[in-house]
Symmetry: C2
Subunit: 363 residues, 2 copies
Amino acid sequence: MRLDDYLKDAEAIVREELQAMLPRDSARTGNLYKLMLEYPLRHGKFLRPALSLAVCRARGGEPSQVLPTAAVLELYHNAFLIHDDVEDQSEVRRSEPTLHRKYGLPIAVNVGDGMLAIAIRPLLDNTGIVGLGKTLKILDVIARMAQETAEGQMIELSWVRSGEWIHSDADYVRLVYKKTAWYSFVAPIMVGAIVAGLPDIEVRQLKRIAIPLGIAFQIQDDILNLSAKSDTYGKDFCGDLWEGKHTLILIHALRSAAPAERSKALAVLRKPMPLVMQDTGDAPYYRGHAGSHEQVEVKSEDEINFLRHFIDRHDSISYAWTVAHRYASRFQRELQRMSEDWAPSIHKDFLLDLANFTIRRTH
Amino acid sequence: MRLDDYLKDAEAIVREELQAMLPRDSARTGNLYKLMLEYPLRHGKFLRPALSLAVCRARGGEPSQVLPTAAVLELYHNAFLIHDDVEDQSEVRRSEPTLHRKYGLPIAVNVGDGMLAIAIRPLLDNTGIVGLGKTLKILDVIARMAQETAEGQMIELSWVRSGEWIHSDADYVRLVYKKTAWYSFVAPIMVGAIVAGLPDIEVRQLKRIAIPLGIAFQIQDDILNLSAKSDTYGKDFCGDLWEGKHTLILIHALRSAAPAERSKALAVLRKPMPLVMQDTGDAPYYRGHAGSHEQVEVKSEDEINFLRHFIDRHDSISYAWTVAHRYASRFQRELQRMSEDWAPSIHKDFLLDLANFTIRRTH
């Protein structure tokens, strides 16, 4: 079975679970639940619930027992996306306008909050499905996950806000461990293992090997942001440069540049994003971090092109890809060793294929 | 003991608990936890944790057993305030700039998310303090609370967005039940009762009588928004009119007005807020609901004055106050009946004083 087909299967059952999980909407809830489903119905990867299902099934667990928790992880992911899009003032998500572009910022913030709220119930209902012990362990993982994600996001936002750019690769890895790896890989893999009833030591082992995969995944995300065709990518092209995100790619280029060139690049990176006036009939829209800067010059298209060439000049995408490749290989090697005595299954194959998928994907 | 002193005592112990509950901050968490404490340290009312403490103690419960949950409720309240301020684009909270005015919108959204995340841990740790049964009951209340609040917020935001203004008093009461009563009164009172070990039937009874108090509280909030002196109020003066919030006051005035006057008022209410350029050295700042309207005329100062007089012409503040008084009295009457056989205590007195406080407070 191809990895894409495995993800498609997961998408189908998780989407159905999400629809069953959310209350019916009515005029009396202002379409809150319909809007919660908007991003999930735009064909995401459904990677996180697929991971939970695959680990659970590869280790002999019942898929129906992990399904609600897997759906909750997809709900969290989409809530984070909505709030991230607000925070980054992104325009496009999964090839359509972001939620705040479509319904306004206040509704987008509240739909995200609603998703974080509604996610608690199925985790409590787990007592009837997997018993009290596993329920508490899962809640513990989710609590840690939400905290790590908020910390990671905060580190990134304060880097962008302060304009401080003295980072080592280790700083970047620590950021990504928190903002991406925890909720996208560590938590999904752990809950799959918990539901399958694996002993704590094996859960911890799986947790450890999930981390390098998460780091490889985020580096590839950063690469795609700079190089993907916009029609397959489905997000704002070069958005990271406009936003001044601190990627491994930029950290490498800045480190490799001569002082004058580095100063020039930093000056551009520290400028805010321009105010864009959309022609969608919507309100004037400030693309940039309100409150984060004085009324200074904003980044220009030419300056984004300069940054794009700056990155190429220092071969920083190849560098980042090499690092991603190293992390992905580490995951694959360690999973291979760990899974030697697991029975063969499509679920085990899916997990072993993930390293390749992570660094070769185009969306 | 005066009610204000009771609240001050609660503030002191809950603030200490909050500070102990949050992880130490460091450069490695970008001041996330420091910012979480910013609103609580601005001297809020601490009404919600005081309610939990009072109910618990009035019924013989141990204050130390309810304290972590009470602090979590204050954390939720402040997270909601941060996100509400973003959604309403408010400028002032507790007499200082709102969090997003001070640190930018992205950081404000994420600090709110972080607070919702960090709130889960103490609720799980309750197992060691009140046992598993009460822990699960409390989690259940909190899950319902978060959902009701998001639904209430969504109803309000979609009313504002759609410009639809055909509401009965019952529509307003239902909105306020969800957006305010649940998290400010119902949940705090229920968790106090649960920790005190009251039987389910008594918890439900207390829940029922909490609702009218919550409704009275929100009506008084709407009144204060229009009439308070800004130096004691600590929020944007007449912000509700600028935002076009659907208060009982406006619902009454619109209902009482002749058709021509009503049309004029509706036309003003449906206009968006103006873009305000702050002279605080911050970014240009769009005060209004991005995406919610075309580039049409915005509300003017004169129009806000017209609305303010429109309300006075129909005596709508007195009307709202009479309704608030009726709800507050209902709470007092029912609590009096219910608490006849409770031992006398300052905690019981605090609860009985709440009706008066709710409709006579000036902030």
